[in-house]
Symmetry: C2
Amino acid sequence: MQRTTVVLLLAFSAATFALDNGLMRTPPMGWLAWERFRCDIDCQDDPKNCISEVLFRDMADRLAEDGWRELGYVYVNIDDCWSSKERDAQGRLQPDPKRFPSGIANLARYVHDRGLKLGIYGDLGTYTCGGYPGTTLDKIKIDAQTFADWGIDMLKLDGCYSNATEQEKGYPLMTKALNATGRPIGYSCSWPAYQGGLPPNVNYTLLGEICNLWRNYGDIQDSWESVLDIVDWFTDHQDILQPAAGPGQWNDPDMLIIGDYGLSMDQSRSQMALWAIMAAPLLMSNDLRTLNSGARAILQNKVAIAINQDPLGIQGRRLIKEKSGIDVFWRPLSDGASALVFFSRRTDMPYRYQTSLKALNYTAGTYKVYDVFTEKPLPELKDATEFVVSVNPTGVVMWYVYPFAKWQEEVESVGFRNERTGSRFYRKEPKAHSPVVL
Amino acid sequence: MQRTTVVLLLAFSAATFALDNGLMRTPPMGWLAWERFRCDIDCQDDPKNCISEVLFRDMADRLAEDGWRELGYVYVNIDDCWSSKERDAQGRLQPDPKRFPSGIANLARYVHDRGLKLGIYGDLGTYTCGGYPGTTLDKIKIDAQTFADWGIDMLKLDGCYSNATEQEKGYPLMTKALNATGRPIGYSCSWPAYQGGLPPNVNYTLLGEICNLWRNYGDIQDSWESVLDIVDWFTDHQDILQPAAGPGQWNDPDMLIIGDYGLSMDQSRSQMALWAIMAAPLLMSNDLRTLNSGARAILQNKVAIAINQDPLGIQGRRLIKEKSGIDVFWRPLSDGASALVFFSRRTDMPYRYQTSLKALNYTAGTYKVYDVFTEKPLPELKDATEFVVSVNPTGVVMWYVYPFAKWQEEVESVGFRNERTGSRFYRKEPKAHSPVVL
């Protein structure tokens, strides 16, 4: 009888608090303003880059017209500094009238008309981090309703200017409030980042119930040092973080800075590969209007995206940290496939790393291997075969690995073909979730 | 009479020790193996990248055929790990017979036939840093003679496995020995890097007399962190280092890593700009066979090179270190011209920096300004006019600045024209040392 009570209580608790939007069964993909455009509100001297409806329309145009949407990059997300310094007469948040003269509902329509979704930013506290009106506990319902009324599809709720008690109340209350609007709104919680990201302060079971994604750690900056710091933190704590992720609930190591100013091409591939392994949200913060072709190719790499979007939604792990400065990451994927990333922390020259699939815990058998960034298949590989990969300094080699037996089965039954290259790596009609098949 | 004695003594001392090769009146330019290829001696598994005559012939071909030589990049420099582990029967250094089967004299001929110069590496000590035979004090004469016999044009003398006393004797002794060969051999001394780079351990007056260039600080690595660390050290000690440089005697902040794995495009422009301001040797360590076009354009930027190679040979300085993270560097050039670099240490987004030439100590007047990396002239600028430059994170804006009055004079008397673009930025027949004229 005691057990029954517990189960009933849990069921009740879930009914009360659990996020009920059915969204983000794979990590969300899109664009987010913050890292690249920050709180630039100087539309007089910097009209192309200031936080305004022009910027978000520009990015929506690019997502829709430059092949991003079809790859899954559908969120156009506003961050801080969008609002007026005052709420309106009814106590509702309102956008800055000079920078968003058409209003957010109109912007949402513009975005939706292009097959995209609009995200917005709030802050559980007296002020947002940038000093704009915050969402104090008494404002949670009205703000959720305002966002829903506007046609918002995703909310990032930051935590500046609030204390631990307010956060503990507020983040679940927003879940309830969003549920109550009846509009499916993806919910990104900055809560754990304000609690140090680790138990006992952070309860990842609860987070998985009330948020679709959550920021565990500090903000990314436009530097390799920052990317590496984030990767190290997430990897050092992978035993805690990795089990917390799954369909509808994701750890968020923050935005992709590929295409900005601080990463080399190798470092850009590393961020893409490691974010894919980590099942991280792929929210680019860059200027899609001026993106160089190298960055575009990395961000639009179909196999890296397919790995990130694998429907099993199992976050990957670091398997090995070698003294040589090579780390090996691994992520299990659907249909018995998996992804491997050989990552070099070295800063000298390409390193020839020797290993075998067997040494990386693969079961006996023959595997098909596809090199994600050279976009080429490799010779079939037996588990015990020793191989050498040459890994560039601060770069990666990323593999999609598939059991040969399964591959034969699939080819015979479906007949895969990559439309672009004519080679056999994609389903004939690729879906966002379809595994990459060698 | 006392003054006469001092003068005579100085004259005697100079006659004894001063480097007498007339070389490197502007900072040497070329290619050096170390940072990119290190001590890779695995010609079996890595034949294209191992330290061998093939690698140096490849680089000579590229320097000669891809437009580098004409820009001044003429040195092809061998670094550590070229030699056999044993001296020959006559006690002379000899190259590894498997990796340099044709010998160094033949390689020198190959390089000279292409209008280039060959540099080699030695180490004042028991062993080189990589464990190959060193040049102990008793071997200085014979090694200098061997290098001269082979047709070597430049020597980098490292300092592993020797103590301060040996270095104090050895570095000047090599100067004498090189003079004695009668062959002009540029002389790069690692001595100060082994003494902490600063007085009282380091005597920059003496270094200027006995070496053409010297490594003051640690080895560069393939990362922005390393570039920034080097820039900071050289700038923090600029009051000591800047006066030590001049025609024939240069501070060496180490190799250019542009085109390798660790720098973004903005960071690459920053290294090029700051090395130009510092009147640093421009010794690329990259793979010229596979260089991407972005890196190539930066390394082949004619105005950046002209600034680096200015015949006055006055090293530049940091003028201002702003709290905003903007540093301003300045270098005086011949004909009243100068170079300015606005450098951002920020890692967020482009920063709009406002200042005026007057605030940067320019004398009253009107100036012509040419933006080095956009390769465009700017509107004429009065000293008191406030202007804004937008500087990318970890990036630079670099200007060549020229007094308007001088420009008018020159245009009337010579009629400048840029051969490539047809615009008026270069002399009709540009020489390595000719100033860039707006």
